[in-house]
Chain length 304, copies 2
């Protein structure tokens, strides 16, 4: 292995420690306790797990969370009323609506209703627009791409002047990551399912951000020697025995899965200069940056 | 010359003719006459010229314009009051604040105050954010990048799957052009002053959008044979005699200038597949798209 591992778990812990310290300082100064409202529509297990991790993080760092579970068949009108109440509530500094929403709801309208000072996920078009515009700072940077850039900086990777390739152009990761890298003076290429000669394009990258959601798609020979790889993918694939048969769980009787990224780690780590593992890379950063954004939201609202 | 010339003057005229026809149809149906408010702060000659061209275009196409010249030393407060009045005025469908503003004014606050339904320049962060987000249509696409994409399509250039290089990342042209191209499924690389090996990067482009503001910077040997070139640059350079001395105007006694783009046209036209001239390429499209946006603004406001 030639690549230096970028330890997302440790770096996320550092961010969390800093947030925790600042929250304690706020409270000692008599300022308000940062509060995050979490809105969970329906009972998707993955969404419920994410929300409970976010609530736990708030508790760990001395912040409050206000949980608002609502039924899967809530009307647009009722969900909007809830958002308006949370916008008006001075105890709530940040509002997180766990995505995806059931298909009968208009996600854009819901997200756009969140007061821009409380949009700790940074998904409102205003925040994304400001991210794209020179001289216009977004109030909040979306958590996962913010985490990606943070990892690069912590690892000491030079971003300015680097060729960066972003795989994927999602609203939540790929596109805002590309905008952040352009703001940091990288030369950025955004690739996606229609890109031709993808291996060749990736091979020119000093920085690769993989957020395309396809297990181990980026192979070792796509990677320029010394490149920095941030692997945002989290894909479940079947765990295999040595003979190639699937490993069956003794407990559930079902095939066991393992989590892999969008990059073939075993191959890429022999070529890259830096690489994030999956899990333990970008994953922990998302919640850490959400906590940093929630603290920032409290600070912004203090200043008003 | 191998390249096919993309005739912006003719294509802009076609857009204008279509707008004119639709406006006439609106009026025949008893609908309101589209109205554009133009706000000109101070007396910059270039800005005044642009504004008067826009007013003339409105008149040519059967639309109304409402001109609001205000002194260069107008306060932020007074300018904001004017915008609020125009937002509230039902006769005004589009609001155009001619940029740049004098430095004592907060451009972002002014632009953000324009009602999103009247933001015919498309510069509000909400419009730009929607442009960057899948599944979220901006109400208005900024006029110059909109014109660039329109020219490519009219010329029959295949955008989906093409490698596109955008030179420049300005709020007004480069960045929104890149976002539009990503939305059209091109693989897009955004280059700027910090880009390394620029000629090599440009040489991989099937589509080049040059909006960097440096006279004739893109040389013929930077261009991949058959590439489509959209040259947004308008740069004044001294006109030279055969002996290399500057041409002096007999009328003014000053050196005469000629307009050139960001691309060395004489060299590039021998290599490219398509190329826009300067002047007569992108230039006329900007006003044509503004007219299309103003008509669209009237249609949006009808629907309310």
């Amino acid at each position: 292995m030639t690549a230096q591992l970028i330890d997302g778990t440790a770096i996320a812990q550092k961010v969390r420690d800093e947030v925790k310290e600042k929250v304690a300082k706020r409270l000692a100064e008599g300022k308000s306790q940062p509060g995050l409202a979490t809105v969970l529509v329906g009972e998707r297990i993955d969404s419920a797990t994410y929300v409970s991790m976010k609530q736990k993080a708030c508790a760990d760092l001395g912040m409050t969370s206000y949980h608002h579970p609502v039924p899967a068949d809530i009307t647009q009108e009722d969900l909007e009323s809830l958002i308006r109440e949370l916008n008006a509530d001075p105890k709530v500094h940040g509002i997180l609506v766990q995505l995806p929403l059931p298909s009968h709801l208009d996600e854009e309208r819901v997200l756009q209703l969140i007061s821009i000072e409380k949009d700790v996920d940074g998904f409102s078009p205003i925040n994304i627009g400001r991210l794209a515009q020179k001289g216009r700072e977004p109030l909040f940077v979306p958590c996962t791409p913010y985490g990606c850039i943070y990892l690069l900086k912590e690892a000491g990777v030079q971003i300015s002047g680097a060729n960066a390739v972003v795989l994927g152009r999602s609203n939540i990761v790929g596109m805002p990551a590309a905008l952040l890298l352009i703001g940091e003076n990288a030369t950025v290429t955004v690739c996606h399912s229609r890109t031709k000669n993808l291996p060749e394009v990736v091979r020119q990258a000093d920085i690769i951000i993989a957020a395309i959601g396809r297990a181990e798609m980026v192979r070792g020979d796509w990677v320029k020697p010394g490149a920095a790889i941030i692997d945002v993918g989290i894909n479940g694939i079947p765990m295999l025995n040595e003979d190639g048969s699937p490993v069956i769980s003794q407990k559930t009787g079902k095939p066991r899965q393992k989590l892999v990224g969008d990059v073939n780690f075993e191959e890429a780590k022999e070529v890259a200069g830096f690489i994030t593992p999956v899990p333990g890379g970008v994953g922990p950063m998302t919640i850490a940056m959400l906590m940093a954004n929630t603290l920032r939201a409290a600070e912004i609202q203090d200043a008003k």
